[in-house]
Symmetry: C2
Subunit: 456 residues, 2 copies
């Protein structure tokens, strides 16, 4: 049975605080291959689109109002908003906005959403410090590596028990990324990791409330602050991550030290990052994908007589709402997901708007969809059979949905997703310029132009 | 055996988030007897003295330099310093300074140092909001009650495992205190507690580094921010504290729900707060106390031939350094503690200065002290026998040291301690005025005069 008593503590843990600090401070700039480098650009583009898309959400506005009580200096941009905040406030807001639609990236091995804490922190720091795009890419890759490796060393026990792993490991990723951006030496990087280690953030109980996206935001701000404190000589335990009463042993009943350090500097966890094509829970994705494939093949929603789904039991357990009455409920309805796939071919935030979920044709189409449990179908797969009014029967089986590691979103997909999030906020011209800036991120002299373009 | 798996979660926990939120938002102002009211004044005085005393410590200066990178507005005073910071930065700094000397208050049932997170947060908020002294006292009592009650519900397992309970429960106490000061209604107070619940702060591994006092500071800032976010409508789980994947079940293997709520509003945990008379580990206190008693009775250190201590084994295990070479080592030397008692009659921060520990007469006096283990003597007691050069033998047995709940510091003791911390920083005149202001705290129209006086 799992235990969590200091009497059972591992007192011979490897010095992972020092190992990670050396890695973060010493690994060469662009010390990885082109696929890693390209994935970093995709991660940044996806993160920025999500952050801008949700920038006017009530969660973001409420947090902004709270931050304004501090009368902050306007040091940093909040993508998608005209207001500016100090670096800490911007890190918080950017982390909140990027996770609010649950549409950001996922490191599937750990369920960490790594860009939220890491990119939010380093972009908030970049304008004031004059960081280049190269610095940003380096800090992003290294910060994400730290967060995901720590996550891998504690997954799944840590997550299962109730930690929202995005925040609890993200604070370390943000500290690592900011330490790198500030060019801290190994010793001060270790201190930054140590200060951050005392601040694991996030409970799964908060899912469904604004505090869920608060977690990557608070992690970004705490990690950034930890790095700044270390820069000025603030000290922490050099064994803060691994000691018997240190981070990993306190917040998880199991530690796999090897997963934290194996192939460090050779394999980069950002390579295993994935991006959601649809703004809802991942088990609906293959169904939306399959219905959209039928639409692309020429199926007109008006021709549909009935639809039979075969789905793993988990799909209906999680997303079995037959009659959703608003957008949020729509995200938990595989029936609405199918209707969106048939009618729109996409299922972004707009297709989960309250008015779309309530639209008469969508209600009618959902009513034609029935589902049966078949656990021979995997939980990440979908089996869809459409009977048309003219008697035709169409069948599609989706083994891996678009967005999975097996069928990753193409760059073009990511651009479409970005447009769906950014065009309504900033217009097509700025969206287009931002995409170019993201793809050329590593060559930017500073982040000022990108930040300027990201404001309304 | 202790477990920490969600499969074993308690799904029938009482609604403590709501219960505590109702209590914090609805309990009448000064809804307690005069002894509680007076203890609140003592707690505030002791906290302020500790905060001012350490205000120029390198830990505080490093954190201040980091905060200044945010170019903050000068909203709030940092007692003992001329610089001002925004409310969040001031909460952080005040929490750090008040805990840096390990000289602050202790809720002995839980080992929570409650004023650090709570008073640091509410004073930082007070200048901007125009809070009265009455508001401060109410918020302090209620905030401390929340932190200590949550601590009692998880102690000792939570602390034993490695959480620095002052920060991990202090963030809730700070949120509660700030919610009260902001006059949030019950629902928003519950949201503030919920946002704070996602941010337990503090690892015992950090003891001995600057990150130890960072814990109450970070807790103060996070609690204050949580209350401001709730004020502006930010949401969290209304069962954040008690749910299966909520705060108490995630950060502790055991929950005693009854200890959180028993006699709520009738018994106030601040009544069990204690204050250290000496700036060192508590097991040395009875020895310093006994030697100081002999000094008061007329013993001249020059008359001492030899000193025999009988001590519980724990005392020598923790504080058995015979030849300390600097101030920090002096805090772990029962021999230096006795010499300070004989020579000065007190053992504040000044008596643990490097130059005092190294002084020839102190070295010589320490050399005359020997100790033997006797486990019939309790770990909180001391047995001291002095042989004088003229052949006299003096004996003193201290069952409970001054500062224990059995022999609490008198108000006069607390004033002396305050002076020892504040006079070197601000001078005797300001120290005297501050003491008056602290004793009349509940009648102050605003905190502006006190804050003004607390600056150099």
């Amino acid at each position: 049975m799992a235990h969590n008593s200091v009497a059972n503590a591992d007192r011979n843990a490897p010095p992972i605080t020092r190992i990670l600090a050396e890695f973060v401070s010493n690994h060469p700039s662009k010390g990885w291959d082109d696929t890693v480098e390209h994935e970093a650009h995709r991660t940044f583009l996806n993160w920025l689109g999500c952050a801008i898309g949700a920038a006017r959400h009530p969660a973001v506005s409420a947090a902004l109002a709270a931050m304004q009580e501090f009368e902050p200096a306007g040091q940093a941009t909040i993508p998608g908003r005209s207001e500016r905040l100090d670096m800490g406030g911007a890190a918080l807001l950017n982390g909140i906005s990027s996770h609010t639609f649950d549409f950001d990236d996922t490191h599937l091995k750990t369920l960490v959403h790594p860009a939220g804490p890491v990119a939010s922190a380093i972009l908030a720091l970049a304008e004031k410090t004059g960081a280049s795009g190269r610095d940003i890419v380096d800090s992003l890759v290294l910060g994400i590596d730290v967060a995901c490796r720590l996550g891998a060393g504690m997954y799944p026990e840590h997550y299962d028990r109730g930690w929202h792993i995005t925040g609890s490991t993200g604070v370390l990723g943000a500290a690592a990324g900011c330490a790198r951006l500030l060019r801290l030496d190994t010793e001060r990087t270790a201190m930054a990791l140590g200060i951050a280690a005392s601040q694991p953030i996030g409970l799964r109980e908060q899912f469904g409330t604004m505090t869920k996206p608060f977690h990557p935001g608070a992690a970004a701000r705490a990690g950034l602050t930890a790095a700044l404190m270390a820069k000025h000589g603030f000290t922490s335990s050099p064994r803060a991550l691994e000691a018997a009463r240190g981070y990993m042993q306190v917040v998880s009943v199991r530690q796999d030290w090897n997963k934290v350090t194996e192939a460090l500097g050779e394999r980069f966890e950002i390579s295993f990052n994935s991006y959601k094509p649809f703004a809802c829970g991942v088990v609906i994705h293959p169904f939306i994908d399959g219905c959209a494939q039928l639409r692309t093949a020429g199926l007109d929603p008006d021709d549909i007589e009935s639809v039979e789904l075969k789905a793993h039991s988990l799909v209906l357990e999680l997303t079995g709402k037959t009659s959703p009455t608003n957008g949020l409920e729509g995200k938990f309805s595989v029936y609405h997901g199918c209707a969106a796939g048939f009618v729109f071919g996409v299922a972004g935030e707009a297709e989960f708007a309250d008015e779309i979920v309530a639209r008469a044709d969508m209600v009618a189409l959902r009513g034609k969809v029935s589902a049966t449990v078949d656990d021979r179908i995997g939980p990440a797969a979908a089996d869809i059979t459409v009977t048309c009014k003219d008697g035709r029967r169409l069948h599609v089986f989706v083994e891996h949905a678009v967005g999975s590691l097996e069928r990753p979103m193409t760059d073009a997909h990511l651009e479409s997703k970005f447009d769906s999030l950014v065009v309504p906020m900033l217009g097509a011209s700025k969206a287009s310029r931002l995409k170019s800036l993201c793809w050329s991120l590593s060559g930017l002299d500073s982040m000022n132009g990108l930040c300027e373009t990201a404001r309304p």
